[in-house]
């Protein structure tokens, strides 16, 4: 039964998992929460896009990127640039010395729109850029690193350096990027006001649907031959190479896929939260995105969504009431997840709860088939 189930696109237990998640996102949360809280959960879900990408890169492929914030940020900035240009009509910006350009450019004595901002006047181009810019960037990094067989901790450090570089660049080039404040005061999308309660609810659902598109794409990759090759590469890279596969190309592909997911998440973040700033790009947010994935379970795409929701919800709750405890809690979470629960929530579910449930119902339902990562996660 096990083998049959794993050949299908969704095994029975996975189908139940997807259905439960869909029910939570599309029914339970909207019924339970007011628009403000719903918008907040929509924001958390945008991080889930990154976490799903990390499940593929890190959990399956063994490539730990500490620079996912770069891709999240690039996607978000592409969206924000379009919205900002739409908000900076000559009528809205009549008080500026140069009307018609974004306000921060005017403050920094720019008198014309930079050339590379021009494509972002058109929505289809901007949407294309949301995916393409992160992917191209990931492709360049991937080709440079993976074809030279740089991996493991070196790759992690270098991606982290990219997160640092992009943050410094954005903050330093205030006139072009809005500097440390980021791109703020975004108003409409093709004339549709994104700040109203109604728009926020619509965007939440759009976000949810996109999340499921990404989830299905990730599931497709995991079930395909590529997904099995990724796991083989993580565990025995040389054997895969000696079997005649080009290891680097698979790694580049999955890294680019993760970047595309992150870019979509970033764009949805901008739409729902209404701004984009370098605080979402740097080293600290990038490594926090890894913890969303680790808490949920680095091998489970559904776990990644729950991880992102749970950690962010805890962050909001605790940092509102006990700001000092939160950092201690987050630090403890990092250590606890790594040392005690390397498979995160999904691992606890698969190893502890699901077997007991199965025993209770006596249906003998298959537990989620998790590859055993406790033995060899990553290296």
């Amino acid at each position: 039964m096990m083998t049959n189930a794993s050949n299908r696109f969704l095994s029975r237990s996975e189908l139940i998992g997807f259905a439960v998640l869909a029910a939570i996102i599309f029914i339970v949360l909207p019924v339970m929460l007011d628009t403000f809280r719903l918008n907040l959960f929509g924001k958390y879900l945008t991080y889930a896009f990154v976490a799903i990408g990390l499940v593929l890169c890190w959990g399956a492929g063994g490539i730990l990127s500490l620079g996912q914030g770069v891709f999240f940020g690039l996607g978000g900035y592409c969206m924000a640039m379009f919205l900002k240009l739409e908000a900076s009509t000559p009528e809205n910006t009549a008080i500026q010395s140069t009307p018609g350009i974004p306000d921060f450019m005017d403050w920094n004595q720019l008198t014309a729109l930079p050339v590379w901002w021009e494509p972002f006047k058109v929505l289809p181009l901007a949407l294309l850029a949301v995916v393409l810019v992160p992917v191209v960037f990931a492709f360049i990094i991937g080709v440079a690193m993976f074809t030279r067989r740089v991996g493991g901790v070196y790759f992690a450090i270098i991606t982290q350096a990219f997160a640092a570089i992009l943050t410094i660049l954005i903050i330093g080039q205030q006139g072009y990027t809005g500097g440390v404040n980021g791109i703020t005061d975004l108003r409409t999308l093709l004339g549709w006001d994104i700040r109203t309660d109604e728009a926020k609810e619509v965007l939440y659902y759009v976000n949810g649907v996109l999340l499921f598109v990404v989830l299905f794409a990730a599931q497709f990759v995991r079930k395909s031959k590529l997904g099995r090759l990724l796991i083989a590469m993580r565990d025995q890279e040389d054997r895969v190479r000696f079997s005649g596969y080009n290891v680097a190309n698979f790694k580049i592909f999955v890294f680019c896929l993760g970047a595309a997911f992150a870019g979509i998440g970033g764009a949805m973040f901008t739409l729902q939260v209404g701004f984009m700033s370098p605080t979402l790009v740097g080293i600290v947010p990038s490594i926090e995105m890894v913890i969303f994935c680790a808490v949920g379970g680095r091998l489970s795409i559904l776990g990644a969504v729950y991880g992102a929701l749970l950690v962010n919800w805890a962050k909001t709750t605790f940092s509102e009431s006990f700001p000092e405890l939160w950092l201690l809690g987050l630090g403890g979470l990092f250590i606890a997840v790594v040392m005690a629960f390397p498979n995160g929530l999904a691992g606890i579910w698969a190893e502890q709860i699901a077997p007991r449930l199965a025993k209770l119902t006596k249906s003998g339902g298959a537990s989620v088939p998790l590859p055993d990562a406790a033995k060899s996660p990553a290296e």
Partner: protein, 308 residues
């Protein structure tokens, strides 16, 4: 852009900028040495390295207050006591962390990275609760204040010279430890072949722990030296961690000489470019160059030739 300056002024600018680069170089070397021991020899990524450094800085801060209050007569010498205590404090914490955490994760380097990041968050919050969120500065003894006039255009600050001297002497000490002491031989033996090293009777577990402790202790000394030229805050360590890792990786992880050479080139490049460009662009260009070179030559500048 040079037409406004006379030749001698230009020379002075380059000399002063170069000297600023040398101070940055000393700081990089001090920070990177501890990391080169831990990452280079053991392959452990310690993201909390900056926090071990800050621990040393806070120990120095406490000692400077203690001497000022209770032993003002000996105040001029407090720094040397503080340095030793900083080594002991950071080293002891390092030993403990290795015992409690790192030794369980040797086979999972990426997980070590995440766990030590968690440790760094916890340490930051502890510093913030104990010492406050604001940056603290130590009072520098009189003999370290002021600057030495070399020519009438060039002046070099004495605390900068002191930090440089310190960097040189600690590098020498680490060199002697690594290449002349029994411990150093054992560490290098384990680095080359762990199983064989164990077979000839080296206690690999204890050597690992000691190595981690000494690396952290050196970080603590770096932190103590750091107080002489800057103030200390709970998050100061995090600012430098990426730079430091790049220095070590760029130099070739297992090579002490490589670490020093890469610290020199990165710091000089950055401080000279800072004069022509804005500080942030200088940093971006430096980091991009380093990452670019690493993409072409992933093993770093000085790669050890090992038979694997």
């Amino acid at each position: 852009m040079f037409s406004d300056y006379s030749m001698s002024e230009l020379g002075a600018i380059f000399a002063m900028q170069g000297f600023a680069g040398l101070i940055l170089f000393s700081v990089f070397v001090l920070m990177a040495l501890g990391l080169a021991i831990i990452f280079g020899q053991m392959g452990v990524i310690n993201m909390a390295h900056g926090e071990f450094m800050i621990l040393g800085a806070y120990v120095t801060y406490l000692m400077s207050n203690f001497f000022a209050d209770y032993m003002p007569a000996l105040f001029s010498m407090y720094f040397f006591v503080a340095m030793i205590l900083a080594f002991i404090a950071s080293g002891a914490l390092g030993l403990f962390v290795e015992w409690a955490m790192i030794r369980h994760l040797y086979k999972r380097p990426l997980d070590t990275l995440l766990a030590t990041w968690g440790l760094s968050l916890i340490l930051q919050q502890i510093y913030r609760s104990v010492f406050g969120a604001r940056e603290v500065g130590v009072s520098i003894p009189d003999w370290m204040m002021g600057s030495l006039p070399v020519t009438d255009l060039i002046e070099v600050p004495i605390n900068g010279i002191f930090v440089m001297v310190l960097a040189v002497s600690i590098s020498l000490a680490v060199y002697i430890l690594m290449f002349k002491s029994v411990w150093g031989r054992q560490v290098r033996a384990i680095n080359q072949n762990r199983v064989m090293a164990g077979a000839v009777g080296i206690n690999t577990e204890w050597t690992d722990r000691l190595t981690f402790g000494i690396g952290c202790g050196v970080a603590g000394v770096a932190g103590a030296a750091f107080t002489m030229i800057g103030s200390t805050g709970p998050t100061a360590g995090q600012l430098y961690i990426v730079d430091t890792f790049l220095v070590v990786v760029f130099g070739g992880a297992a090579s002490l000489l490589g670490t020093i050479a890469s610290a020199f080139s990165i710091s000089q490049a950055q401080s000279i470019m800072e004069f022509f460009l804005s500080g942030s662009m200088a940093k971006v260009l430096t980091l991009l160059t380093v990452v670019g070179i690493l993409m072409i030559r992933p093993q770093g500048l000085f790669a050890l030739k090992l038979r694997k």
